[in-house]
């Protein structure tokens, strides 16, 4: 876990600081958002209990269907 956080924060932090220092704010935020999403996924992987994306999609689809289905 610590190793994961170490490399992740070093990598993301490093790139983000570099972009911010170069005054490329939009690039920095875009990268940050992507990194944030991937952090959520990687955290699960590091915990050995990956967050299953297809299960989330299934919930989404069922949710949408239940809204549209009659009664």
């Amino acid at each position: 876990m610590t190793v994961f956080h170490l490399w992740f924060i070093l990598l993301v932090g490093g790139v983000f600081i570099y972009l911010w220092a170069k005054r490329l704010r939009r690039d920095a935020w875009l990268f940050f958002v992507l990194a944030l999403m991937s952090y959520g996924l990687w955290y699960g992987i590091a915990m050995d209990q990956p967050f299953t994306i297809t299960k989330m999609i299934e919930q989404g689809i069922l949710g949408v269907f239940s809204v549209f289905s009659p009664g």
């Binding site: 490329l24 992507l34 992987i45 299953t52 297809t54 299960k55 999609i57 299934e58």
Partner: protein, 371 residues
Amino acid sequence: MEGNVTIRGSQFYFLTVNYILGTTLFVLIQSLVKSAGRDAWLIPLWGGLCGVVFALLWLLLYRLHPGKTLAQISLDVLGRPLGTVATVLYFLYFTTVAGFVLRNLSDFLTGTIMPETPGPVFHIMFLIVAGYAAAQGVETIARLSQLLTPFLVFPFWFVILLATVNWDWVRFVPAFQPETLAGIFRYQSILGYPFLETVALFMLFPFVGNRLGRMLTGGIATAAVSISLTVFAIIGSLGVERTVHLNFPIYSLVEEVAVNDVIINIHSVISIILLVLIFIKLQVLYFAAFETLRQTFKPRLRWPLLLGIMLLMAGAAPSIIENTIQNWEWSSKYNFVYNGFFGLAIPILLLAVTWIKAAAGKRRQRGGMTA
């Protein structure tokens, strides 16, 4: 960027074929045969037919917005806020498809030849190479695909031909029974995977010349026929009874090939071919995801975006499914719905809005003239 024709028609044709073939040769075959038995080779054919129809839909949308990619069309038609939502959704879609591709790849490699290697190692290595190629641009991807195609086609069919030494027509008899035919049309996830995933190629449309339509539909048809022939060869050489029990029938088929007991163990050839097809599919998805975000948010530098996408895809791959059993269940239920949303629903929405806007514009013009 707009209308920069850099890919030749033939290059796009091969790219389409290789993209669609992608992972199908080792992921799809088992479930096709399980569903329709001896007539399973018909499934890719009707799937391909529908795939061509879907492609015509996309081509129609493209004709109304020539020289624009899917992302740009969404932004134009739906406006900045809604269009951004649509492109971000497409980005996530391309990422999840890439996750599927990578996961199928690592499951295949760890299940057959490299059981001790952890999955993320494969994911990251493939992503680095695919990302590098995609970063070079569309020309590189297309040219690479064209260059590699003869090295894929000839060894693949040669090895399949070697395997037909075990052929038996009895394995197809009786053919075209009503129950199996019903099973063919019940298998609607073929529409989702692989044919609706081809919407990713929409991001490359502006780079192809005026033979886009013919090349795209031709490529889809060729891929469908290729898959169908492969399934046919597998049923004839392995038989339905065995195929249904094997996880990777094509790998097992090739493993059993022995030419005069001298040339054996040539399944590594098939493994390499399948790996290269996956690279091509991954490159296209990577490029599509990258371009989608780049055209929406217009960052100055490219490499941070590429790195961020690589991180996300590498994280998506181990997370996309729990295991193969959960994957089968999810695929059979939701594959068509999920891919249909991105391959059909949104393009139809874009078409509809385009026509509505065009009609409204004409009415305003007429109104202005008569007033």
